[in-house]
């Protein structure tokens, strides 16, 4: 059978679109990958030693870990979590009003644009760099770490906030305007009820991120578990380092689990993530 349809004149067949642009982009990406490998001067020989070295150091750290300094480690962990907690709270206090001002439709464009730019700049700078900039003023203290996390939080919370506020259902906003409500009424009753669960869950998520980041800030001397880790690596107390790793991983995972459950409760109304329909 030559044709599938009983038709005398076949309709014109479309020409296959060219893929020149796509091909060029793929070539470019491949070139960048090759150039990157070449420029970092990888010592491929050391890669062969890597598995054995890894096993050696894991053995030194974890078989067995040194639990004698567990009390001190636990206190240091609490300090790190406090750093994260204070940083998150300060970040929320500053970013919350700012993200309303950064939302289109809730404040003039002339206010939106510079705030969005500031959020973007902050997000481009890692917390460690922020801490180094701040410590010239406040010195190397846990509070410096908290401040660095607060500034970093403003960048992400500000952006997540205005995206959530702009993304709400326009219906209730229209309803508030139709009753004669002003901007405050619009924000409080047209926007906030719809955006609240999402925004609260962002705050918790940022706390989870800050818990992890606080350990890293300790490495530059801001105190807490990171500093203790750094000190023990310096003196090659591998068994103590192993204990610290266990503590960090367990505490971080525990906080992630609790915070994740609360976030699910806020968004979905259940403590565990709902199973996706298959």
């Amino acid at each position: 059978m030559a044709t599938l349809i009983a038709q005398q004149q076949p309709t014109a067949r479309p020409v296959k679109p060219t893929t020149q642009l796509r091909t060029t982009l793929w070539l470019l990406v491949s070139l960048i990958v090759v150039a990157a490998f070449w420029s970092v001067q990888i010592k491929w020989s050391s890669l062969a030693d890597f598995p054995s070295q890894l096993i050696k150091y894991l053995g030194l750290m974890l078989f067995p870990p040194d639990w004698s300094k567990f009390g001190e480690a636990f206190k240091a962990t609490i300090l790190s979590v406090q750093m994260a907690w204070i940083g998150t709270i300060l970040g929320i206090i500053v970013s919350f009003p700012l993200s309303f001002l950064a939302s289109r439709g809730l404040a003039p464009r002339a206010v939106n644009a510079p705030l969005r730019f500031i959020f973007a700049v902050i997000r481009a700078v890692p917390e460690v760099v922020i801490a180094i900039l701040i410590l010239s003023v406040t010195g190397l203290t846990p509070f410096t770490g908290a401040l660095a996390l607060a500034v970093g939080s403003i960048g992400t919370l500000g952006k997540w906030g205005y995206e959530a506020f702009e993304g709400v259902d326009p219906g209730p906003k229209e309803a508030v305007r139709s009753t004669g409500g002003g901007t405050l009424a619009l924000i409080r009753w047209g926007v906030w009820p719809s955006a609240a669960p999402e925004v609260l869950s962002f705050w918790l998520y940022r706390f989870e991120i800050n818990v992890r980041a606080s350990a890293i800030l300790g490495l530059i001397g801001a105190g807490g578990i990171g500093k203790m880790l750094q000190d023990n690596v310096q003196f090659r107390n591998w068994d103590a380092v192993g204990m610290l790793l266990v503590v960090v991983v367990v505490v971080t995972m525990a906080i992630d689990q609790i915070s994740g459950a609360v976030r699910n409760k806020l968004i979905h109304g259940t403590w565990r993530a709902p199973r996706r329909a298959s």
């Binding site: 209730p172 309803a175 139709s178 009753t179 409500g181 405050l184 009424a185 009753w189 009820p193």
Partner: protein
């Protein structure tokens, strides 16, 4: 509840959207206080535009509209804005096709949103409504028979109940006028009748002017004293609902009628 009514007068009103689309063409209408007006027409005929010009949600391009003591003007004329515009809106309730409730808060809070114009900043912020307003909201809920659900989340209600909460929200405004933009388009036929009867009773008992956009012509004929037919932004019929026969509707719609133009016809099909 006491309500004062206001006449609505359209003088030579036109609306052209920024993209050049003509919403309304030289509309002249006089709607005395207390009328129940149905507005029919195909989608795109200007029903929604007509209703939204009355509370300034859609600004008019030329002409003027007076609503009681307030006047809305076209470009070049004095513009109603800020506090004055909000005062006009506080006198005009609006019901929407998709209910437009804040779904994650309580039914009562949604009704109290009708009091926002009269509520101070700190009370708005904290949701600390005045006791009188709470009682007013409760009596508005009473009228639509949803008082027992006052403290439930709006999202837990059925579509018909949500629309009746939206009607209660407009009642809490103590409005002179209620505008309803396709209020039953998202509802099933029996529920549509319930909602239309609510609007009819509010009009009859409280003397509030009610203007309803409707797609189904049997609903329009049954529930409105006066029927306005729009076609391409122009009024092509203005008269008693009872006078609108099949030929009138064919003129409004610009085509012969089908079963889909009738709500109860749809239920049968």
């Amino acid at each position: 509840m006491e309500h004062t009514a206001a006449d609505i007068r359209f003088s030579d009103v036109s609306v052209t959207y920024p993209n050049g689309y003509t919403g309304l063409k030289t509309i002249d209408l006089n709607i005395p206080a207390g009328e129940m007006v149905g507005i029919v027409g195909l989608s795109g005929a200007g029903k929604s535009t007509l209703i939204r010009t009355i509370n300034g949600l859609v600004p008019i391009t030329s002409g003027s509209i007076t609503v009681g003591a307030h006047q809305l003007n076209g470009r070049g004329g004095a513009q109603l804005r800020g506090k004055d515009l909000r005062e006009l809106r506080s006198n005009v309730g609006m019901v929407f096709q998709s209910f437009n409730l804040a779904k994650r808060t309580t039914v009562l809070n949604n009704v109290l949103m009708g009091r926002l114009y009269h509520t101070s900043a700190w009370r708005i912020l904290l949701g600390a409504w005045k006791n009188d307003d709470v009682e007013l909201a409760m009596s508005a809920l009473e009228r639509v028979e949803i008082v027992p659900k006052a403290y439930e989340k709006a999202s837990s209600l059925s579509g018909g109940q949500q629309q009746r909460v939206a009607i209660a929200r407009t009642l809490a405004q103590r409005p002179q006028v209620i505008l309803a933009d396709e209020p039953v388009a998202s509802l099933d036929p029996p529920t549509s009748h319930v909602v239309m009867r609510d609007l009819q009773r509010i009009n009859a008992d409280l003397g509030i002017t009610v203007m309803v956009n409707l797609h189904f012509l049997d609903l329009a004929r049954r529930y409105s004293d006066r029927l306005i037919g729009l076609r391409s932004g122009e009024v092509v019929f203005d008269g008693a609902g009872a006078d609108a026969d099949e030929s009138v509707f064919e003129n409004i719609y610009g085509r012969s009628l089908t079963a889909e133009d009738v709500l109860d016809g749809q239920a049968v099909l």
